[in-house]
């Protein structure tokens, strides 16, 4: 028994020592990435980067929620575990302001002006860029042209919500398993609230007033949520309160959705024929009717390898990287990361490989993350403040309750306002 214990202790200490002693000699970069197709492809494309520079790359691929938790706790405790992190548009300006991530400065050959302005603004704080976009998206309408043609209805760019509802009614055929419209209903600040916020924006509403008091008890929120619940409850698939991007993608590919309003990235996953695209609808206010999001690369303030990390980010978000993916034997133009650079959309090969390219570009260009007279915060479908995930999640639960019929819209909004008010007040905004 004693010898067994000694062996066990010896082995553990040995293994621990081995893992601590790994990092020496050549430069190693540890990169935390969100698991999506573009990021996974990057691991293969970057083999050429390692060959050329000798910099070894350690990839840590995580699911979005876990990545956010992992990277936040690391960065908040001074960093040091990662040299490069994937963060979203919600975090970039906040973390930049807090000094958790380094400002990014690129050389002239990087062509920072080629970056889509909406992306650049959304990832900056007071004019300083803190994260370089690797892939970006907006939202738009994706619909089945065969169904709208058969029903004799048309969906236009920036259509009115009334027309969208009329079109959904015309193509709604639940007896044959086809629903007029599929929309996010699953509670979560990045799930149902991403879409719901764009509806509220288009009704002229916002999350907070100039003093950062929640405005969920406003007429605009009430009208928007009543419309959303009515539209999805009447013409959506049953159980919509459990649907987010992936669930609807599966429904759409099964031919069960006549129309879907969601992330532009969805277009590259659609496998049904005859998909047509239109810019997001609105109820009189087009600003904020389509969202804006990017997964971007940043350098935590604690990274001891700042120079090497900057070199890698410069390569991974450059025009040359787009070319490298397009020319890679395993990928091609259909796999290049979109939504970041204007030059990507100018390639004829890309336009041919991605029929949604023009609609996606128009959606991203029209998205407006800046603060306006209507709202004091940066962000379209979120507010770039640290408290937003908590507020958004609390409100998301109430909206899902209204959608499922567990609460009336008035009751849900009243509870949502109370929850949001408590969080903001406790955070010291007023």
């Amino acid at each position: 028994m004693k010898s067994l214990l000694n062996t066990a202790l010896g082995l553990t200490i040995g293994v621990t020592g081995a893992s601590i002693a790994m990092a020496d000699g050549h430069t190693e970069l540890t990169i935390a990435i969100v698991n999506n197709g573009h990021m996974i492809n990057m691991q293969s494309v970057a083999e050429a980067y390692t060959e050329e520079t000798g910099v070894a790359l350690n990839w840590v691929s995580l699911e979005e929620g876990v990545l956010r938790e992992q990277v936040t706790s690391d960065t908040a405790t001074g960093g040091g575990q990662y040299d490069i992190i994937n963060i979203g548009m919600q975090e970039a300006p906040i973390w930049g302001a807090a000094g958790w991530i380094e400002p990014l400065e690129f050389g002239a050959e990087y062509d920072v002006d080629d970056m889509l302005p909406a992306m650049r603004n959304g990832l900056s704080h007071e004019g300083t860029l803190y994260a370089a976009p690797f892939y970006g998206e907006s939202s738009m309408v994706m619909y089945r042209k065969d169904l709208t043609d058969a029903a004799g209805v048309e969906i236009a760019d920036n259509d009115s919500w009334d027309n969208i509802q009329a079109a959904a009614a015309a193509i709604h055929d639940p007896d044959n398993g086809v629903y007029g419209v599929c929309l996010r209903g699953k509670p979560g600040w990045g799930d149902n609230m991403a879409f719901v916020t764009t509806v509220v924006n288009s009704f002229g509403g916002a999350w907070f007033d100039a003093d950062y008091r929640p405005t969920l008890d406003s007429d605009e929120w009430n009208a928007a949520i009543n419309f959303y619940v009515d539209l999805l409850g009447t013409y959506g698939p049953p159980g919509s309160e459990g649907n987010s991007f992936n669930e609807i993608l599966a429904l759409y590919n099964e031919g069960r959705c006549g129309m879907w309003i969601d992330a532009t990235i969805a277009a590259s996953f659609l496998e049904v024929d005859g998909v047509a695209y239109a810019q997001s609808p609105n109820a009189g206010n087009p600003v904020g009717a389509n969202w804006l999001w990017a997964w971007a690369m940043a350098v935590p303030a604690g990274s001891p390898n700042y120079e090497a990390a900057m070199d890698f980010i410069e390569w991974a978000t450059s025009k040359e990287y787009i070319q490298a993916v397009a020319n890679h034997p395993d990928f091609g133009w259909g796999s290049v990361p979109t939504g970041t650079r204007a030059s990507t959309y100018a390639y004829e090969e890309f336009q041919a490989a991605a029929p949604f390219a023009a609609a996606e570009m128009a959606a991203i260009e029209s998205a407006a993350p800046e603060a306006t007279d209507l709202k004091p915060y940066v962000g379209v479908q979120f507010a770039a403040i640290p408290e937003f995930p908590e507020v958004g999640t609390a409100v998301a639960q109430e909206i899902a309750a209204a959608l499922s019929g567990a609460k009336s819209v008035d009751e849900a909004l009243e509870a949502a306002q109370a929850a949001a008010d408590a969080i903001m007040s406790e955070a010291g905004y007023y």
Binding site: S19, N36, I40, V60, L62, E64, E69, A250, I265, E271
Partner: protein
């Protein structure tokens, strides 16, 4: 009499059918996981290919091409084996003391140990990160994962062993004492041989819990000590249906533990029902 014979015959026929039915329901998710792992991501979500499809190994090659499966698997083996060993090294003497030399606080201590399982792990994530990374410098090491897995499972280990040890007549231990056997001798020569079945099943269950633990193993590691739980997390995607890929990773992650469970099922069942029939 005829009714009794008929009902016995009916029972002889029905109970196996019910047992098989329940077993199939429990087994179906595993079957579907393995089945889906041989489909492409496109086929996995296409109802047209629900049952008939062209099998592919591309999801398994992806696992070794894009991810270092063997590194994750080795880390899982190292951390689970040592965490289980350490939990037993601490748990056996602790359970022995409480089972054979109880004090008036023994019940309170047992309840307190169980209550530590009631604290939500997320509540201590930030302090744990700060403590292990900034103060102790052991973040992302096998040592940390082993210690955490051991501590997380210790209450269950002690509770299980305590229950098994309570079944052993106190007189046997006392007889040993009267023969002049030391405490260590009592544990080594009397207790362990008598409770071997219970200790083995506790070890197996603890190993399974360690292998499947996902909260801390994902959050207290980055690259060097990541286990198979991290590999699974890394294949979940909120935007995109990669069910073929995820199924292959999950199959490869659970395969070693399923095989181990299969070989040790006799010990597991024997241990779990230890003392149940008297």
């Amino acid at each position: 009499m005829a009714t009794v014979t008929q009902s016995t015959k009916f029972g002889n026929f029905m109970w196996p059918v019910v047992a098989w039915g329940v077993a199939l329901i429990f087994f179906f998710p595993i079957f579907w996981l393995v089945f889906t792992s041989f489909k492409t991501d496109q086929d996995a979500v296409n109802p047209e290919f629900l049952w008939r499809f062209t099998p592919t190994l591309e999801n398994y090659t992806n696992m070794t091409d894009n991810y270092d499966y063997w590194k994750f698997a080795t880390n899982s083996v190292i951390t689970s084996v040592f965490a289980t060993l350490f939990a037993l090294v601490v748990g056996v003497p602790a359970a022995y003391a409480m089972a054979f030399n109880p004090s008036r606080h023994t019940k309170d201590i047992l309840m307190w140990m169980l209550s530590t399982k009631m604290l939500p792990a997320a509540a201590v994530l930030y302090p744990m990160t700060f403590l292990t990374k900034n103060m102790l410098g052991i973040y992302d090491t096998h040592f940390l994962v082993i210690v955490v897995l051991c501590l997380v499972n210790l209450p269950i280990v002690i509770w299980m062993l305590f229950t098994y040890f309570k079944e052993i007549p106190k007189e046997i231990i006392e007889a040993g004492k009267m023969d002049g056997v030391s405490t260590w001798g009592e544990i080594k020569d009397i207790l362990i041989p008598l409770a071997w079945g219970g200790i083995a099943s506790t070890a197996l269950l603890t190993f399974i819990f360690c292998w499947n633990e996902a909260y801390w193993t994902v959050r207290l590691t980055t690259f060097n000590a990541s286990t198979l739980s991290t590999l699974i997390e890394g294949n979940r995607a909120p935007e995109g249906l990669f069910f073929g890929r995820l199924s292959a990773v999950s199959t490869a992650a659970i395969a070693p533990i399923v095989i181990l469970g299969w070989f040790c099922q006799k010990q597991l069942v024997a241990g779990l029902t230890f003392g149940a029939v008297k």
